[in-house]
Amino acid sequence: MKKLFLVSFIGMLVIGIAAMPTSVLAQEKGPIKIGFFAPLTGHAAQTGKDMLSGLQVYLKEQGSQVTGRKIELISEDTEAKPAVALTKVRKLVEKDGVHVLIGGLMASTGYALMPYVDSKKIPAIYAIMASDDLTQRHRGKWMVRTGWTSSQPSHPFGEYAYKELGYRKVATIGYDYAFGWEVIGGFQRTFEEAGGKIIQKLWTPVGTMDYGPYLGQINKEADAVFALFFGAGALQFVKQYKDYGLKDKIPLTGGGTTTDEHVLPSMGDEAIGVMTTLHYSAAIDTPVNQKFAQAFRKFAGKSASYYGEGPYTGGKWIIEAIKALKGKAEDREKFLSALKNLKIADAPRGPIELDSFGNPVQNIYIRKVGKVGGELQNTVIKVYPKVSQFWKYNPDEYIKQPLYTRDYPPLKP
């Protein structure tokens, strides 16, 4: 008994460590391991789960295999914290020996992982993380972005708002962090270049639920409001926008996540008529998308959103690249090359190819919330094809300009 504690404690430690499965040496006939990481607990849990579902739907469609090799999906929870993400990704790469990483929701995760991914030389598919700079001024070699940049959909919308909606003065409001700054910054730039003017920029802390104090401040002279929120916050904002009587006075527009299918089913009629911009809509009327939307609904029991489509297409990207390599995913450099050179013509969101900076060139959809068959959806009003992260600007000139931040572009006097 006296020695028991000592022996058992040390014994447990040693056995516990020794019993851990060590990373399997990559074999060319062994399974292809895909490491998925996203917040699966915490405030972004629902979003992370949608992402996982999207990937799982795709892998299921493929029978969880490619070129005769089984696909093993290992998923890890990042808790929406970059430090946790780093720890979990370390585990995926070093302990589980994955061939490729896919996932990531928060911008902070994206920036945090880049040095590690580059030092370990492992391809990482960023299917959702939209921070502009990841494919502009702070590119990583081993990062393959198959999603979008925050400002990518905003650029065409700025023009659209001025030319086709006829707005001249717009007030903006959004979450006070990089994602908000970039979506709104992109809109401001093209809207003002077309001749419009942003008369007010309001910022709220991320995750705000009570927008009363902000709604009261909105400049009544605005022709429209451009808003950037997501998740439960978006739900609350759109509802309170109507409750405060603004809906009928000042048209509401915004970044796509404000009315994303992620929260749209929970919204009521107050969302009808809201126009937003994104590289996806569950209502895109193509056979590929309808098939995806139905499969997603069947698998996850909810409406497909861009959070689901991103990793679905990301999964497709990985599989198509492996097919191009005839199954030899062990040569990391070749794998990376294959991923970067891939073009997909039939993703649910439409055709995608990567620009020289590693970001998708793809369709941007201007959507308007409408009720179809008793359900709200983001009906597609207009499509801008082949939009790049740089819009119509020269990439090198664009990069010389500062990144969109809270105060850039500045408000004109």
Partner: protein, 318 residues
């Protein structure tokens, strides 16, 4: 005075543990090596907090502030100003300790729940700075790309195994220093204050000064763990010094056994291990961790060390 007090089993256990820590790494898979390194880094943090909590009886909910501040200084100096290893270490240590000197003035008069609340508030102040001072700290995005340390002498600290032994040596030095500190007359006075501050005051001790210095020492050693963390992780963010981080440090001490130094180090090891081990099998690891905490507080409030003493029964005479 005996160099090391404690039963044969405690000493025996420490020797075996030391042996394992020295000998295991070459046979350990690289992933577990990094986990072991993490355990040591948080072991330092937990031991530093134990000085304050376990020996002086002052519970703190803001200790991660010192951990995070030094980590941020290392991050900023190394990535933005290309300052070398020694410069970053000194910078991190100095700023963190300076803050301890400053904050200590605000907290040393209090105790118990009040101390808890004030340290919580001060911890939040530091978090607030990290989160909002975006131009300096990168805010929510944190600071990535911290380069691996270079000592100037040809020791490749980028190699995980070499880095591990580096961390291990710092851990052992800290352990010895804190051991001597807590066994010193000053350290014994701290325990007196923990047991009854009023009695110590009546005896003529300047308890305010003792508490102040204890806080500063705890902060300074906490800073050391933060520096190691910055280099280990390559990335620093506000999550490294928020309330949850402070609370985890707090729990490492509680779970390990406050007032024993080794206990909190074991507690840190256990929490780091569980965090990484459990989350591989279930996404509900927080639930399991919470259950362990509750069970510990209900049945073994003295933590791992008490568990050890109970099992051994022959116990040590301390």
């Amino acid at each position: 005075m005996r160099l090391i007090t404690g039963s044969k089993f405690k000493i025996g256990g420490m020797i075996v543990a030391f042996f394992l820590l020295m000998m295991l790494p070459p046979i350990l898979p690289s992933y577990w090596l990094t986990i072991l390194t993490q355990m040591l880094i948080f072991g330092i943090l937990a031991m530093s907090l134990d000085v304050l909590m376990g020996y002086t009886g002052l519970p703190s909910f803001g200790h991660a502030g010192f951990f995070g501040t030094s980590a941020y200084v290392v991050a900023i100096l190394s990535t933005r100003y290309q300052v070398g290893f020694l410069g970053c270490v000194f910078g991190g240590f100095l700023l963190s300790t300076a803050i301890a000197f400053l904050f200590g003035l605000l907290v040393a008069h209090s105790g118990g729940v009040y101390f808890l609340m004030i340290t919580l508030a001060l911890g939040m102040v530091i978090w607030g700075l990290a989160f909002r001072w975006v131009t300096m700290t990168g805010g929510d995005n944190g600071i990535a790309g911290i380069p691996k340390p270079e000592l100037g002498i040809p020791i490749p600290l980028e190699d995980p195994m070499v880095f591990y032994y580096f961390v291990l040596s710092v851990f052992l030095v800290v352990l010895i220093l804190l051991y001597l500190f807590t066994r010193s007359p000053f350290g014994l006075s701290l325990r007196g204050i923990r047991d009854s501050e009023s009695r110590m005051r009546i005896l003529g001790y300047n308890t305010w000064l003792h508490k102040y210095l204890s806080y500063v020492v705890a902060g300074a050693f906490g800073a050391i763990s933060g520096i190691l963390w910055a280099y280990y992780n390559g990335f620093v963010s506000p999550m490294d010094l928020d309330l949850t981080a402070s609370f985890e440090a707090f729990l490492m001490v509680i779970l390990g056994g406050p007032g024993t130094l080794i206990g909190p180090a074991l507690g840190a090891g256990m929490i780091v291990f569980l965090k990484n081990f459990i989350s591989a099998y279930t996404h509900r690891w927080l639930l399991i961790l919470g259950a362990i905490y509750i069970l510990a507080i209900l049945y073994v409030p003295g933590g791992i060390m008490e568990l050890g003493k109970r099992l051994v029964k022959g116990g040590d005479k301390e």
